[in-house]
Amino acid sequence: MNKSAAKNELLYFALRNRKLQIGLGIVLLFVVLAIFGPLLTRNDPFAYANPLGAQPPSPEYWFGTTFFGQDVFSQFVFGLRATFVVGLIGGGLGTLLGILVGFTSGYRGGWLDEILNIFTNIVLVIPTLAVLLIIAAYLKVRSIPIECLFIGLTSWPWTARAIRAQTFSLRTRDFVDTARMSGMKANKIIFTEIAPNMMSYLVMAFILQFGGAILTAATLDFIGLGPTNAISLGLMMQVAVLWGALQLGSWWWFIPPGLAITAIVGALYVMNVGLDEVFNPKLREM
């Protein structure tokens, strides 16, 4: 089978995979909302727009208003943007570091592998959030890019471990030996021989990192260590709980942010299973 035929086959299964369709559909829906939502709102997410305070959804304020009279819909769509930025950059950085460490460790082996492995295990055992919160607590001004950076720097170990194991199993294959004998450099072998053979794996690792970064950011924001100069979905929930949205029954304030996170992360997970079925013929449902 030539290369383009193989690609077409994957595409064929990808387009017909229900899990992939549903997952991708939900994620895209929220992406569109994050991109165009802010254009639909006139209110600044922080502006005290409604003098009446907490009001249920109405034609004027689609998602109602907060205790302070802020437009929940406006906060929600801007918060969605922050969520996708964190997923993309934080998750992307985590994946990239995981790939670098995993490939180096798995392909080189020896003492370098030993050291990287110990390092990976250490970072793996230390709870990410514990480190993040102690760093965040000492930073007076926090922004979303900083949050992404920290999440990326602490989330890579499990990806590194998985990729290391895969690389181990690939590096003794015949085609890699052939490449090595032909005098190819290690970097080139990794990126032209090994990486393409585990592309599906890398894509799936990125999706999981994406979802994980979103959940970590929400946790950080909720505990009061989120960005100090921007709005996010986790921050919305924090403010809602702190200002008694539960007791006041302002459900429109705390339901949308959590629901959106659940829907996006859940859709990413379902997408991942769908992709697994596409790439792994054994799992395809007949």
């Binding site: 055992v125 990410t128 000492y138 929930m237 029954g249 959590g258 996170i261 659940t262 997970y269």
Partner: protein, 332 residues
């Protein structure tokens, strides 16, 4: 076996060392001056002489007036003596005491929810792999639950069962009108307050475990040994049992890896329910810029996670005969 545990203990000791170093390093090398933050919090209005005295005092408490290597050694020696500094938020209680009174609540919340969600998740995950009907109900539910942010599930449960229906209290570990004692009314009161935070931790964990088990079993049923048994005409129940036994092992490793996430989940769940564990303390510490308390929480979390990891390692050796044999033989 000794080698296996020796290696594990080495990693954990190293992890602890790194964690303590991070704990020591961050306040010293982060931009901004923690002492000025503390002072700004206590009040900028005090007179300059008092401010100067205070600055020197904190300089001394943090040990910033010493050479850096001395600071580091002092940090360790204080730590070994159980001295984590004085809490500012609960002045003048030592941080170690503040944390000690919070830890039982964390254990009370985390241990049952981790164990039960692991057990129930594996059971239901295995069922899901068995029947189409169950797969179509448990799997989507599992994906939704495992994708739910802990605090949001907590918020929803508190709102539905605490406020709308009024079945459960949503704040504190027990009512103010009962005195802590070993009596039934108090224990019932404690359990009543405990249930909702426990339920939100349990549900999220359950989703993840069920999904993990379901996928592992599907992989195992596709493995050569399963097909071979099938070809021999072995009963389906037997094949499934083998698949289950093999799938449980990665699930134990998975449990160890997910501990950090569960602990983070417990922190935010405690915030939602004002449950007086470390998470709740941490929020107060952050809002009051109580750095010693934050550092102490960090250390307690690390120690807890390391201990739990070690327990899981021991479990693994008991359950998997191969690790035992392998460790004594070729695997060094």
């Amino acid at each position: 076996m000794r080698l296996y545990f020796g290696r594990k203990l080495f990693i954990y000791a190293l992890t602890f060392f790194v964690a303590v170093t991070i704990d020591w390093m961050i306040p010293r090398f982060m931009p901004g001056n923690p002492i000025l933050n503390v002072m700004a919090r206590i009040g900028a209005s005090i007179n300059p002489i008092a401010a100067q005295a205070m600055y020197t005092y904190y300089q001394h408490v943090f040990g910033f007036d010493l050479p850096i290597w001395q600071q580091y050694l002092n940090f360790w020696s204080a730590l070994i003596h159980g001295n984590l500094g004085i809490s500012i938020y609960m002045f003048p209680t030592p941080v170690a005491n503040v944390l000690k009174s919070a830890v039982p609540y964390d254990i009370f919340l985390l241990v049952p929810s981790i164990l039960l969600s692991w057990y129930a998740g594996n059971k239901f995950g295995a069922y899901a792999a068995r029947s189409k009907w169950l797969d179509n109900t448990i799997s989507p539910l599992g994906y939704v639950l495992t994708a739910t942010p802990y605090m949001w599930l907590g918020i929803i449960l508190a709102w539905l069962f605490g406020i709308k229906l009024g079945w459960f209290p949503i704040a504190g570990a027990y009512s103010f009108n009962v005195a802590p004692s070993l009596s039934w009314p108090f224990i019932l009161n404690l359990l009543h307050h405990w249930f909702l935070p426990f339920a939100s931790l349990f549900l999220v964990g359950f989703g993840g475990q069920a999904i993990g088990m379901r996928n592992m079993i599907i992989y195992e049923l596709e493995a050569d040994y399963s097909h071979y048994l099938e070809a021999l005409g072995a009963p389906k129940g037997l094949i499934r049992r083998y698949a289950f036994n093999n799938a449980v092992l990665p699930q134990i490793t998975g449990l160890a890896l997910s501990l950090g996430v569960v602990v983070a989940g417990a922190l935010v769940t405690e915030v939602v329910f004002s449950y007086p564990g470390i998470g709740y303390l941490l929020l107060a510490a952050i809002q009051n810029q109580d750095y010693f308390l934050i550092q102490g929480c960090f250390l307690f979390i690390i120690i807890g996670v390391l201990l739990a990891n070690f327990v899981i390692d021991i479990m693994y050796v008991i359950i998997d005969p191969r690790t035992r044999r392998g460790m004594m033989g070729e695997m060094a």
